[in-house]
């Protein structure tokens, strides 16, 4: 059992002590995983909701109002799936705690429990626990179409009589039964208000073996009474009892057939590896042209702005600070959208759980869990949603370990950095080498992650049980509309969370490189025989060299020198701490690249090729020093948001501080070793 489960004695009536944000009735959707909660939530709210979901799990709550067409003014809250009212994972704990004391909303006036009617005895287990706890429960029976395929039908009237609460059959796919559900909600709510039936809600005591078995005996008896064979309306007693029980407890026939392939010891694994690699590479191939277009567009916009506005610090701020910063957020959005889209499809078809099962054994060898797979895969988009997705791992040690290694997964913010640096070391006529190297970078980062996990779990020793009990939902055709909608909300959330920070940092760095010497004096002797263009370049160069950024950069120089880097790399690394992709714009700013209509990368490459170490004519970006930088980026945890989320999710500063120091030191040592190793081999 989870250690911090609230003691049931501490739970008491809170209906009068909660500040209610408004007087609307509050209806919470509760149900087992994959029972159709989110589908129902989408149907009930239309598009009228706020969501705070992250990829791979419904960790945060989505709150919405009923669609106007239902003419029922109430709040509706979606929640993550739970199998029992007794939580077994942090994810379930959040849900159950929120049910009894919601951090924002009052105690729910009504609870709609979604129950998959094709596995009724299991689903009624939770339903009964909720009724016993004193909630006002309405049961929404979903997946009736699947049950019919098995040859059965449920008598809602009979179920209502036996369970003494309203039971409504709905079809989440077609949206049938909703008006009936709303009517029952309204009726029940009025009754609750009239009777003032709240205040008797109590958290049940932990389960014992006997209580679970007794409860299941009860749900089975209900199941037997409400399930009717479809088409032949004959008395239930005439059906052979044994066959009846067996058939209603069969798995979905179609899924069993598909699992013969997808979970096949050989072909299942082949399919898994091929499909994951295909998805993974297509994230990059599909996104690349869009990203190039966006980056070019913003490059153009930036140079137009500088041309239009009179030259002053303000025009520089707009062109180099604001537009470049927004451009950066936009540039790596395509990848994130595509990743969320693929994760959505995998989850909705039911394949994601199979993938987790297939990969569980190898992951358990390095102290992880099959469920670590989704957070790790998400980590290739962004560590922030990935760390949050780790909440679905019920074992604390495995969860912390997953969180620990997520920053090593090559998040998409590192991609622009790799792209730029690889373009520097790879001969321009052989672009495929860059592609291969990028593949190698990703594989290496995965390997480093695996090794790190292996080492840490060895060091930490095997403590606690590691359970893996995952429901494999029936395979379903994904509903395109819902997947698109989910992707849309996750992407918006991503922009909100990361976008502001990135733009803000880009402005901050712009200021560091622009001030204090905004109008550097250059003697007319030098400028006399120079073109206007060259004078501008000279002024910019002078300004940067005397900026705040330069002074900070100079302080880091002693550490960077052995790696062949200079203060400008130092400044960019410091600014990259706020968000890795900022490295590119910081590098551009510290090299003071003026964009003349070309896209950012082309003009940057040019300036980086000719850049020399200050006060010398040694080139700054040699093959060795650039590879060193790539290796540094692979390991270092340079992201303040990751640090913050790691603190939040692990509950203390211990793990984020260890992560930060271990990864920084390891990155520095690895880069140092690589640079000197390459030099020893004669590669400068």
């Amino acid at each position: 059992m989870y250690s911090s489960v609230k003691d049931s004695a501490s739970c008491h009536d809170r209906s009068d002590s909660v500040v209610v944000p408004n007087d609307l009735p509050v209806i919470t959707l509760v149900g087992q995983p994959n029972s159709g909660k989110t589908t129902l939530f989408n149907l009930l709210t239309g598009s009228n909701f706020k969501t705070a979901n992250y990829a791979g799990s419904t960790v945060e709550f989505s709150v919405g109002k009923f669609d106007a067409k239902f003419d029922f003014n109430a709040l509706i809250i979606d929640s993550p799936g739970v199998t029992s009212i007794h939580p077994q994972s942090p994810d379930e704990e959040t849900t159950i705690d929120a049910l009894f004391h919601h951090p924002v909303y009052k105690l729910p006036d009504l609870i709609i429990v979604t129950a998959d009617s094709s596995q009724l005895s299991r689903q009624l287990y939770l339903v009964h626990q909720l009724i016993e706890s004193g909630f006002n429960v309405i049961i929404a029976l979903t997946m009736n179409d699947l049950l019919e395929k098995k040859g059965f039908e449920i008598s809602a009237a009979k179920a209502e009589e036996l369970l003494k609460c309203p039971v409504v059959k709905i079809n989440g796919r077609k949206g049938a039964g909703l008006s009936d559900l709303i009517a029952r909600c309204r009726q029940q709510y009025e009754m609750v208000m009239f009777e003032n039936a709240k205040g008797k809600i109590k958290r049940p005591s932990p389960p014992t073996e006997e209580s679970v078995i007794t409860l299941y005996a009860f749900t089975e008896s209900i199941e037997k009474q409400v399930l009717l064979p479809k088409e032949k309306p004959i008395d239930i007693k005439t059906v052979n009892k044994k066959i009846f029980n067996v058939r209603s407890h069969d798995a979905d026939e179609y899924s069993v057939k598909l699992d013969k392939l997808f979970l096949h010891p050989f072909w299942g694994l082949v399919f898994f590896i091929v499909s994951m690699s295909a998805i993974f590479t297509s994230i990059f191939w599909l996104a690349q042209p869009i990203m190039d277009g966006i980056s070019e567009g913003f490059g153009l916009l930036s140079s137009w702005t500088s041309a239009l506005l009179p030259p002053s610090w303000l025009s520089d701020l707009v062109a180099q600070g604001i537009i470049a910063g927004i451009g950066m957020v936009a540039t790596f959005l395509p990848q994130i959208v595509i990743l969320f889209l693929f994760l959505g499809i995998l989850e909705d078809t039911g394949y994601l759980a199979r993938g987790a099962m297939l990969i569980d054994k190898p992951l358990s060898k390095i102290g992880l869990n099959g469920r670590s797979f989704v957070p790790m895969l998400s980590g290739f988009a962004c560590a922030i949603p990935a760390i949050m997705a780790a909440r679905t791992i019920s074992n604390r040690r495995e969860r912390l370990l997953t969180i620990f290694i997520i920053p090593l997964m090559s998040c998409s913010a590192r991609l622009p950095v790799y792209a730029l640096l690889l373009a520097l070391v790879v001969p321009p006529d052989k672009p495929w080498i860059a592609g291969l190297s990028l593949g190698a970078i990703y594989l290496t980062s995965l390997t480093i992650g695996a090794i790190a996990a292996g080492i840490i779990s060895k060091l930490a020793g095997k403590k606690g049980n590691s359970a893996f009990m995952l429901e494999l939902p029936a395979y379903r055709k994904p509903v395109v509309r819902y997947i698109l909608k989910g992707t849309y909300y996750k992407s918006i959330l991503y922009i909100q969370k990361a976008g502001g920070t990135i733009v803000f940092c880009s402005l901050f760095i712009w200021a560091l490189t622009y001030f204090p010497n905004t109008e550097p004096a250059i003697s007319t002797e030098i400028t006399n025989n120079l073109t206007r263009e060259e004078v501008f370049k000279l002024i910019e160069f002078e300004r940067t060299n005397t900026s705040y950024a330069a002074s900070i950069g100079h302080m880091t120089e002693p550490f960077l020198e052995p790696l062949g880097w200079d203060w400008r790399v130092g400044v960019s690394l410091i600014s990259a701490f706020v968000a890795r992709e900022v490295f590119v714009s910081a590098m551009a700013l510290s090299l003071r690249i003026s964009e003349n209509g070309d896209d950012l990368q082309a003009s940057m490459l040019e300036s980086m090729r000719v850049a020399t170490i200050a006060n010398s004519d040694k080139p700054l970006f040699t093959t060795a020093s650039t590879i060193g930088l790539i290796i540094f980026f692979m390991i270092a945890m340079q992201c303040i948001s990751t640090l913050a989320i790691s603190r939040k999710e692990t509950g203390s500063w211990k793990i984020p501080i260890i992560q930060q120091s271990v990864y920084s030191i390891a990155a520095y040592i690895a880069a140092l070793a690589a640079v000197n190793g390459l030099r020893a081999l004669g590669i400068q």
Partner: protein, 89 residues
């Protein structure tokens, strides 16, 4: 902590779910997690629906024979070998 179904005949040669072959079907007679001590997953398994007397079917085994996909009460659940060993049939 053994949970037995007293109505069932004692199984002549008790096996666990982990030893069942793919596609095989059997009735749960007992849950026992004594060998795992404190970390016995029995309550969780029971809550998931693996109660004595229920029929279980092996749907698939992953390439490494661990975890196994077990069907109980119309649901397919993937269990690690360690948990599957707690379910005796």
């Amino acid at each position: 902590m053994a949970i037995e179904n007293k109505d069932l005949e004692p199984n002549p040669k008790p096996r666990t779910v982990a030893e069942m072959g793919c596609g095989e079907c059997a009735t749960i007679c007992k849950l026992s997690g004594e060998h795992l001590g404190q970390n016995s997953p029995c309550i969780k398994l029971l809550e998931l629906g693996f109660t004595p007397g229920q029929l279980v079917t092996i749907i698939a085994k992953s390439p490494f024979q661990d975890p196994v996909a077990v069907c109980v009460r119309g649901t397919v659940i993937a269990l690690r070998k360690q948990e599957a060993e707690c379910i005796q049939v």
